[in-house]
Symmetry: C2
Subunit: 234 residues, 2 copies
């Protein structure tokens, strides 16, 4: 009995460490998204280069998460709910790493937008970035807290991100039509806006994983949020 108690405690500690690692990854990814959009608006090329460079951290943290998750499974042989939590951690770390890739991709576009006058939708992107990074933050908190209800609330917020994106998309298209010289630059902004919108999708995706880890039910069984890749309304 004492041994069993000890084992459970050790497992809980390992799992807490795994969750802390995911939170750490989330912090990096949120920072990278917000910072890449700040650099974009302020044309901070050095800042943008730094984000590209720092993405390695997330890659290494993902590897570390996988290593620890595998070790935890091998040493502690968790069952049922606990195993579901470890598998969720594995999958969530991949998604967070991908959010970092979007920030890196945005940062790489910063120097390409240097020349020429201001493009209006540019100023809306940081606000959209704020919306999606808050989703990432809250959904990872929901994972740490095993809070299925909080995960569902994050999923519901993706609709507003999609609407925001659609409005930016249309503005960019109008911009392209008014002046063909803007087309190259606007195409980059189109992809940047899309990247930010995709971060919202990924937060939603994590929300589904958190919901499953916490309840054992796939969200598919109930009315589903708009988690899928959207199509622009033109």
């Amino acid at each position: 009995m004492a041994t069993s108690g000890h084992t459970i405690k050790a497992f809980d500690e390992d799992l807490d460490r795994l969750r802390a690692l995911i939170s750490e990854m989330g912090g990096h990814a949120e920072h990278a998204i917000r910072e890449s959009l700040r650099c974009l608006v302020q044309q901070d090329l050095d800042g943008a280069a730094k984000i590209v460079d720092e993405d390695k951290k997330l890659d290494l943290l993902e590897i570390e998460t996988e290593r620890r998750a595998v070790q935890l499974i091998a040493l502690r042989a968790p069952m049922a709910t606990d195993l579901r939590d470890v598998v969720a951690a594995l999958k969530i770390s991949s998604v967070v790493e991908r959010i970092g890739d979007y920030a890196k991709n945005i940062s790489k576009r910063v120097p390409l937008l240097e020349s020429g006058g201001a493009i209006e939708p540019l100023s809306l992107l940081p606000e959209m970035g704020r919306m999606v990074t808050e989703m990432v933050h809250d959904v990872l908190n929901a994972f740490v807290e095993r809070d299925a209800e909080a995960a569902l609330q994050v999923i519901e917020r993706d609709k507003a991100v999609d609407d925001f994106y659609n409005s930016i998309f249309r503005t960019l298209l109008t911009y392209m039509m008014e002046n063909p010289n803007n087309i190259g630059k606007s195409a980059h902004l189109l992809f940047i806006a899309k990247n930010v919108e995709r971060v919202g999708d990924h937060a939603t995706n994590i929300g589904e994983m958190v919901y499953y880890a916490a309840t054992g039910q796939h969200i598919m069984d109930r009315p589903k949020g708009d988690d899928e890749m959207m199509v622009e309304k033109i």
Copy 2:
């Protein structure tokens, strides 16, 4: 000894079934990508609607893969290499499901491109689709065969996909500049081409997972393929 042999055999059979499930998912995803591009070129609206509908299959297969992987870990408590294989299967199934999402997204755009004359780059998309679905096919074969070398060869092919995409991207931009009336339609084609290009990235990503599962080494330790999200050259 007999019991141990039996257990190992049972594990191998379970793992083979898991691999077969991933191959099945891959078959669906490859078909969906190719078929979505055929529907696009031939304006087959019914075919496109069918792909959107059939994407549910991939979602269910991913859930089934996860269920079996978790069961396999819980019942057989695999160690080291075997556990790495199961974790790879888990992660790969998520990526294949995402490839299906790209096909679904392309299919949803088919009705939006209905009106108006032919756009030249359209005819290049099926060829690009063929390149990336072959990558998906070969990299999943590499997973089934545990062939790290074959995985590396697939990764190397992503460069050609990126070049192809870049050429389509530029053509579309020229197209937009020549006639502003084309901008809405071209924007959809831009996202479709991007989706196809992303499938190549995902095949590359799977290649890295296969390499790790087969060798225990992350590909990061050696000269790395161009696995990351690209930036268009304008």
